[in-house]
Amino acid sequence: MVPYILCTILLLLGIYGIIAKKNLVKIVIGLLIIEYATNLLLILIGYRTGGTAPIVSDARYAAVESANFVDPIPQALIVTSIVIGLGITAMVIAICLRLYEKYGTFDILQIRRLKG
C-alpha cells in the first residue's frame, strides 16, 4: 500500500507545480512529474520482491520458474506510456518556444489575451 500512497503524493506534487508556478517551463516540469508518478505506479504494480525476468529458460522447469516472474504487462505498458509522454513533451516544449517568440516572456501572467 505504501508505494501507492507515495506515487499519489508524487502525482499531487506535480499538480501543485502546475497550479502554483507562474513560469511556463516550471509548468512543463510539473507535467513531467505527473507523468513519472504514473509510470512509477505502473512499474510498482508489476514488481515482485526477488522476482525474475519473465523468460522461460528451460521448458521442463516452466512451472517452477513462472511462479517467480515479475508481471511483464506493466513493463510493456510503460514503454508505450513513455513514448506518448515523449510526444506530449515535445509538443508542449515546441509551443513554449513559439510562445516565447511571440510574447517575449515565460510568465503566464503576461500571456493572457484570451478572456471571458
Binding site: L11, A37, M91, L99, I111
Partner: protein, 500 residues
C-alpha cells in the same frame, strides 16, 4: 468467422492516410485534400455497411480475450462510428475550400486523419490501455491543430488545452493502472467480469473518481471546462467543428458511458454525480454563452451547455433517458458542427467573428445564413427540427424519473426547460446580430463562400431537418442498438468473452 475481421480498417485506413498525405503533397498540392476525402469517404461507407450487424470481435494476432488486444464492434461503437465518420467526411469536404488560405495543407490533413484514426480507435477498442493510447493519438493531434494558426491566441489556447488535457490523461492512466492492480486484466469485458465476482470496494470508487475527473476534462463538464472556450474558437473552423462535434463526445462522453455502464458499476452515487455535473454544466454554459460577442466563443459555451444535457440524461439512468441522451448526442454532433462551419464561412467572407461588426448577412450569403438558421433553430429546440425531439425526450424522461428520484425530478425537468429557453435567447441574439438587420458599410462587397464549403453546410442542414422529421426511424435504427448495449452489461461481457 464473423465480420469482425474487417474492424481494424477503421483505424488502419486513416492512420495510413495520415502518413501518406505529407508524402503525397510533395508531388501535387491538391493530393492532400483528395486523399483525405477518399479516406473519410471510405470510412463513411464502411461505417454504414456495419449498420445493423451483430456484435463482432476482432482478436489481434489471434490472441483470444482476455490476453490479446481486441476490437469490438457493437451497437454503441457502431452508433459513434457512423456519427464520427459522417461528420469527419463533411468537415474534410469543407476543409478543401476553407484551408486554401493556410499554408502547410499537407500537415493539416495529416493531423486531421490522425485525429479521425484516434477517435475511431477509441470507440472500436475493447482494451482499456489501448483506449488510452488512441485517446492520446487524437488528443495530441488536436493540440497541434488548435495551435495551427501559430498566432498569439492560438498558442496560448493550445498551451492551456495541452496542460489540462495531459493532466487529465495522466489521471486516466493512473486509474487504469489501479484498475489493473486489483483485477489483473486490461480487457474491458474481463475487468467487468472480475469486478462482478469481486464486488466493488473503496478502491473502485477511487478509480471511478479518477475516471470522472479525467474524462470530465475531455468532455468539458463544468468544473473541468476551462480549456474549451479558448481552444475551440482559436482552432481553424473545420477543427472547431471536429472538436466540438466529435472529440469531446468520442473522448469524453463515449468513454464515460462505456466505462461506467459496461465495466465499473458503482450504482446510485454515479448517477447522482452525472446529474449534478450535467445540471451545473447546462445552466452554467448557457448563462456564460449569453454574454459572448465572439461568434465561435458563444458556440463553444453552448457546447458545454449541451454536453450538460447529455450527461444529465444519462444520469437519469432510465431507458428513456438513455435514448434521449444518445439522440441528443447525435443531434448535437450535427448541428454544432454545422454552426461552427457556418461561423467559419462567415469569417471566410467577412474576416471577422465579432457579432457587433456583423449584420445583414442574409442578403449577401443566403445559403450560409439559411444553414446557420436551421442549426440555430435545431439547437434551441424548435419543432420540427431534431433538437426539439431529443430535448422533449430528455424532459419527459426527467419527469418520468420522479418515481426514482422523488420530487426533485420535477425541479430538474423545469431547469431543463428553462435552459432550453436560455439557449433560444442566445441563438436569437446570434441570428439578429449576424444574419438580420442592415449590412455594415465595410461588408457591402462580400460574397457567398465557394461551393465545396456550402455543400457541406447544406448536407448537415438537411441532416438536421431529417433527424426531426424521421425521428422515430433514426431512434429505432441508430439509437436503440446503442441503448441495448448500455443497459445490458452482462450481454456485453458474454458477447466479448464467448470467444474464450
Amino acid at each position: 468467422m464473423n465480420s469482425g475481421n474487417l474492424l481494424p480498417l477503421f483505424i488502419a485506413v486513416p492512420l495510413g492516410a495520415g502518413f501518406l498525405i505529407p508524402l503525397a503533397v510533395r508531388l501535387k498540392n491538391w493530393l492532400g485534400g483528395f486523399l483525405a476525402l477518399v479516406t473519410t469517404g471510405f470510412l463513411l461507407v464502411f461505417s454504414f455497411s456495419r449498420l445493423g450487424a451483430d456484435t463482432a470481435v476482432y482478436t489481434m494476432g489471434g490472441w483470444r480475450p482476455p490476453f490479446g488486444i481486441n476490437l469490438v464492434g457493437d451497437g454503441l461503437s457502431g452508433f459513434f462510428q457512423i456519427m464520427i465518420n459522417v461528420v469527419a467526411f463533411l468537415v474534410t469536404l469543407y476543409s478543401v475550400g476553407y484551408m486554401k488560405r493556410y499554408t502547410a495543407q499537407g500537415k493539416y490533413y495529416s493531423l486531421l486523419m490522425l485525429m479521425t484514426a484516434g477517435m475511431n480507435g477509441v470507440v472500436a477498442t475493447g482494451d482499456l490501455f489501448n483506449m488510452y493510447v488512441f485517446l492520446e493519438i487524437s488528443a495530441i493531434s488536436s493540440y497541434a491543430l488548435v495551435a495551427f494558426g501559430i498566432e498569439h491566441e492560438e498558442l496560448e489556447a493550445s498551451f492551456k488545452y495541452l496542460v489540462l488535457g495531459s493532466v487529465a490523461s495522466s489521471f486516466i492512466l493512473f486509474g487504469i493502472a489501479l484498475l489493473y492492480s486489483i483485477t489483473g486484466t486490461l480487457n474491458m469485458a474481463d475487468i467487468a467480469r472480475v469486478l462482478d465476482t469481486q464486488g466493488s470496494g473503496l478502491m473502485v470508487k477511487f478509480i471511478a473518481a479518477l475516471f470522472i475527473m479525467g474524462f470530465g476534462v475531455k468532455a468539458s463538464l463544468i468544473p473541468f471546462h476551462a480549456w474549451l472556450p479558448d481552444a475551440h474558437p482559436s482552432a481553424p473552423a473545420p477543427i472547431s467543428a471536429m472538436l466540438s462535434g466529435l472529440l469531446i463526445k468520442a473522448l469524453g462522453v463515449y468513454c464515460i458511458l462505456r466505462i461506467f455502464f459496461n465495466i465499473i458499476d458503482i450504482g446510485n452515487s454515479f448517477s447522482n454525480v452525472l446529474i449534478i455535473l450535467g445540471v451545473v454544466s447546462m445552466t452554467g454554459g448557457a448563462l456564460l454563452a449569453i454574454g459572448q460577442w465572439d461568434f465561435k466563443r458563444m458556440l463553444a459555451y453552448s457546447s458545454i451547455s449541451q454536453i450538460g444535457y447529455i450527461m444529465f440524461a444519462f444520469g437519469l439512468g432510465t431507458p428513456l433517458g438513455m435514448i434521449g441522451g444518445l439522440f441528443h448526442l447525435l443531434n448535437h454532433a450535427f448541428f454544432k458542427s454545422l454552426l461552427f462551419l457556418c461561423s467559419g464561412a462567415v469569417e471566410y467572407s467577412t474576416g471577422t467573428r465579432d457579432l457587433r461588426e456583423l449584420g445583414g448577412l442574409w442578403k449577401k450569403m443566403p445559403v450560409t445564413s439559411a444553414a446557420c438558421s436551421i442549426g440555430a433553430l435545431s439547437i434551441s429546440g424548435i419543432p420540427p427540427f431534431g433538437g426539439f425531439f431529443s430535448k422533449i425526450i430528455i424532459i419527459i424522461a426527467a419527469v418520468d424519473a420522479a418515481g426514482k428520484l422523488g420530487p426533485i425530478a420535477y425541479f430538474l425537468a423545469a431547469v431543463t426547460v428553462i435552459v432550453s429557453f436560455l439557449t433560444l435567447v442566445y441563438f436569437v441574439k446570434l441570428q439578429k446580430m449576424a444574419l438580420f438587420g442592415s449590412i455594415p458599410e465595410k461588408l457591402t462587397h462580400i460574397r457567398e463562400v465557394p461551393v465545396s464549403m456550402w455543400s457541406a453546410l447544406v448536407i448537415l442542414a438537411v441532416c438536421c431537418i431529417a433527424f426531426g422529421i424521421a425521428c422515430p426511424w433514426f431512434i429505432s435504427v441508430f439509437v436503440e442498438p446503442a441503448r441495448e448495449i448500455l443497459s445490458d452489461k452482462s450481454a456485453y461481457i458474454m458477447k466479448v468473452l464467448e470467444f474464450m
